[in-house]
Symmetry: C2
Subunit: 235 residues, 2 copies
């Protein structure tokens, strides 16, 4: 893992903090490694830690009775997990699981609340992030309803690529099918198509993005919309 994926500055929310505030916050943080498919938190659980991924990705999955759930948000080095605490609620309404293995910083919920109370810059930044996250939720809802699996897959891969900052990452079609809320077969078809078009290549879970900009073009507008929202509010 490169250095750029491990230091606190690798997380864009933390990178935006004034030096002194950051140092103060870091004193309460511990550096950890998240492993693929690890469950960070289940819907309804108390949030024990807040996570700032630096090189990892956490998926937020809405549970639905009788189904495996649906991913509604993706948190990488541009965000954090545990936003409920910003609003005074220490229970996550969503499942959170590790979609991309890698390093992250985490901080105990209690200390995080204290930091929050003492640190207006942190509060301001995270509030804005929460706004972006809400926009993403809404966008995803609409996207899931209207767009075809292939475009959604392209969006999803592009988002992942941005967050791991690498053209290669590990993801089985089975996993993807849960994220997108479709059958594995649906992913196979869409992925085959993207591979035929030379946008990606994959074998046994290792996915390689061959043509980034073409992949982004194959994605639905939601990809760009998300990016724009982020840039406007946190850029």
């Amino acid at each position: 893992m490169q250095l750029t994926k491990r230091g606190p500055r690798a997380n864009r929310l933390l990178a935006g903090l004034p030096h002194k505030d950051l140092q103060h916050l870091l004193a309460s943080c511990e550096s950890i490694d998240l492993t693929f498919a690890e469950v960070v938190s289940l819907s309804g659980d108390r949030i024990r830690h807040v996570y700032f991924p630096t090189g990892s990705i956490i998926s937020m999955v809405a549970p639905v009775d009788g189904y495996a759930g649906l991913e509604v948000g993706m948190v990488g080095n541009e965000g954090m997990f545990g936003v409920g605490l910003l609003l005074g609620v220490d229970v996550s309404p969503l499942h959170a699981l590790v979609q991309g293995a890698g390093p992250a910083l985490r901080i105990h919920a209690k200390r995080f609340r204290r930091e929050l109370a003492e640190n207006p810059a942190l509060r301001r930044g995270l509030n804005r992030y929460l706004y972006v996250l809400m926009s993403q939720l809404a966008q995803t809802a609409a996207c899931t309803r209207f767009h075809l699996v292939e475009a959604r897959l392209a969006r999803w891969l592009s988002m992942t690529r941005d967050r791991v900052r690498s053209d290669e990452f590990y993801l089985t079609q089975e996993f993807l099918s849960h994220m997108l809320g479709v059958r594995r077969v649906g992913v196979t078809k869409a992925a085959s198509s993207l591979q035929e078009r030379k946008l990606i290549a994959y074998t046994r879970g290792m996915i390689t993005v061959l043509d980034r900009s073409a992949l982004e073009a194959a994605a639905c507008g939601c990809y760009l919309a998300d990016k724009t929202t982020y840039a406007r509010n946190l850029g």
Copy 2:
């Protein structure tokens, strides 16, 4: 319109405030009437006013290029429109339009921010509401993906019924089709089915709920899930 739909206490967020805080806030509020299909705000617009519906309903619609959009949140007397301001952002990422005509209280964005700064009880309550709203967004995303139109319609009508606190309300199938993100014909089929089952009756936009609890039972679990989340956090 009954008195219970007009006074400030008709809005559950306001009703939860200490008397003194409420009085202070009300000094900045004006009482207005929202008319059916009125556009409160478009995606990307500056938020000029925050709305507390007392007898009206505002729909939050996520725009999608090439489609009429998809409703992702419903705000009635249990909520407010303009949550972005809580997070320091004065632009709405979503369209907001009036789904149920009726009275509401509103307050200028600027004054609202000042109130917010001065009034911790208000902040606390609204933060919790924001949390509930986020949960609703996620729930709706999953619901829209997995559940059949008939169950979604039943959910939607039940939610509306709760918010207008009346078994009769005006809504055309055309409008409903936009909210649910399906064709009008899809609504016709689902609504016919519910009517055959004696759960509702309707003619030319006037919908009557005949059997509330059966309608709620016909809805997907998302209806109950939303209610539970609200009760747990604001009840």
